[in-house]
Symmetry: C2
């Protein structure tokens, strides 16, 4: 874990420390503290790391499991003595300020989404609190160590197994009018998701959501899909599991069709595969996320299809970024979109162009890759093919 960028940022902001107030579902908190807890706690980084817990509940485990130099509690900083005179909220603010004071911290930088009430409370105690617009801890997380890349790789292996289970189930389906049947039962989005999720669970992965979307559902990139799947229509399957032990994610999308896609869908698929290959070809250290995004947009716009680059108000066509970073968060830095900065070796990103229109459905192809010294390595080992045999 190389925190030199964070040290430099603290210098630039004239801050004595970086402060996080969050539970460990906040990836910055988990990364900086090295501790997994369901309730919010305070992490102070001032060259080394110090944790402050409201209650004793996590204290013992934090001492054993966290990477912190010190683990402390509200009660160690006079919280209980202040309660009667100050009330709970004011006592909490004074306790946090006393903790910072113990480390000679008078000015802190905090993540942009740091809780307002904590910030206002500290400010009232004379602590300077500045929101770090550059999200430096998030930015630091973008560059993965070899160990972190291995974690992502492992999650993507489970992802491939889940995608194969899903495709296998589609392969068993018989076309019955406008329905798909497996063992005589109507094949639904829910059934396919269950297959995917059980496969992932048995491989130690959790999942927020899985997308199995067909027809108009698939035309909305964030619709998870529901109900019967239909033949001859594109079915988008987007799987983004989190390894329960390491907490790192995988991410992959394929679009399948059982039966005969119509000409329009076939065209969209070929175009999206071209956009995906052009975007991949644009990935190298020194190129920006915006360059990669432009490569995908060029393909679509050259074919006369709308993109957000071309028309910021469009609701059809290519209506999202080409990709995003993946790690402890399934969406994290770096951006592979119009604002994407320079790509660096160790950045783990998705490449996932797609086309959407409620009248047609949706098509998307997504791989997960890592930027290397001379280009990229694809962390995804799964065929790109529309029609399920």
């Amino acid at each position: 874990m190389d925190l030199s960028k964070l040290d430099a940022r603290l210098d630039a902001l004239d801050a004595d420390g970086y402060l996080i107030d969050a539970d460990s579902t906040d990836a910055d908190q988990y990364y900086l503290s090295g501790f997994d807890a369901p309730d919010p706690f305070l992490t102070l980084y001032d060259g080394s790391t110090h944790l402050l817990f409201v209650r004793s509940l996590e204290f013992g485990r934090a001492k054993r499991e966290s990477r912190a130099a010190s683990v402390e509690r509200f009660t160690d900083y006079g919280y209980d003595d202040r309660l009667e005179a100050d009330g709970r909220r004011e006592a909490a603010h004074r306790t946090r300020a006393a903790f910072l004071d113990a480390y000679d911290v008078e000015a802190v930088a905090v993540p942009p989404r740091f809780p307002l009430q904590t910030a206002d409370g500290l400010r009232k105690q004379g602590i300077e609190v500045v929101a770090d617009a550059e999200q430096t801890v998030t930015a630091v997380r973008a560059s993965k160590t070899d160990e972190e890349i291995d974690h992502v790789r492992a999650a993507q292996r489970a992802n491939e197994a889940a995608m194969a289970a899903a495709e296998d189930l589609l392969g068993q389906a018989e076309i019955d009018g406008d329905r798909l049947l497996v063992d005589g039962e109507v094949l639904t989005s829910e059934r396919l998701k269950e297959e995917i999720e059980v496969t992932l669970l048995r491989r130690g992965c959790a999942l927020d959501e899985t997308i199995v979307a067909c027809g108009a559902d698939a035309a909305d990139p964030h619709d998870r899909g529901s109900g019967p799947l239909r033949p001859h229509e594109p079915i988008i399957i987007d799987i983004f599991p989190q390894d329960k032990t390491t907490k790192y994610h995988g991410d992959m999308t394929r679009t399948f069709c059982v039966g005969e896609p119509d000409e329009q869908v076939r065209e969209w698929y070929d175009l999206t595969e071209r956009a995906y290959r052009e975007a991949l070809a644009a990935v190298e250290p020194g190129a920006t996320g915006a360059d990669v995004h432009d490569a995908a947009c060029d393909v679509y716009e050259d074919a006369g299809l709308p993109t957000l680059r071309d028309d910021p108000g469009t609701e059809t066509g290519f209506i999202h970024s080409t990709g995003h970073g993946v790690g402890l968060d399934v969406h994290e830095l770096p951006s592979v979109g119009p604002d994407g900065g320079e790509l660096e070796p160790g950045h783990v990103i998705t490449i996932e162009p797609g086309l959407y229109d409620p009248a047609v459905g949706g098509v998307r192809i997504e791989d997960l890759i890592v930027v290397t010294d001379d280009g990229y390595e694809n962390l995804t080992d799964y065929p790109v093919s529309l029609v399920v045999e």
Copy 2:
């Protein structure tokens, strides 16, 4: 959804509106907006509800699915025109301010954990932003409608099935020295969790985590447990699934022992069952969460065991609250601990006393109940028994 408490709070704070900036994993956001989205968006409540999205991606679905009176985008408030002159961040602040201005909102109340950068940006644009220490939307969520209670009930039914599957697996175990064997394989925490999670998944529930903890692991209420389960020791199983469709949670804990618990464990179990029954007996409208917590603490302290009430620094004994609200969040208001206020009909809460000591292990019993006009209804239908037959 009765928002009269929110209206009153806005009056008291002299605020024109309540503002949330979060994705829908934030339960207040999901509750107020009625919209499920993975990226942060703005919800303004000023008597009716207005949503503001950064990008177009969610626009169509939000118009169809949300409960909002209006759904708007950054681009509708001049974001793109401001970008070049102002830069991204400043343009975003001005765009949010323009949106508030369109509804004549000059002062907003926000949740305590509202993101600092958004608040500071709005303040710079002349908007008054005050953190609502009373978490009014969270407080409103504490009182459930009959429909919400049915959602919790359904999640708890799935929970009971999962607990039965786990107990069944323990029942199949043979004792082999200090190990448990099922079909010749060592029974682990991980194996039991998989059984629980697959059972829940097949019933439409997701889960953040499940606790199956034995021995010293169980002595830490937040340790999820790992490795082989041992005979003659208490095994804590705490399951808190979320129904994927409704997003409401269930919550239940049982402590099991395969083989013969020693005298100490048996004593702790009986004491915890007594604390659980005394706490349940204390539940009625008008009683406070603190009263219910006191009832549990009394049982433990009378038996000479430490509690946080008695000794705020203790790391063994009864080291957490007696319970918490359950709904869209698995931990929400009302509190059933030292700061717990008055209980009202429609409050859904857990009752879950427990004892912990690394030298002994842990014991906890937890039911989920709803406060009614004349007491409570237990939403949990599962036996309370230590020894697995």
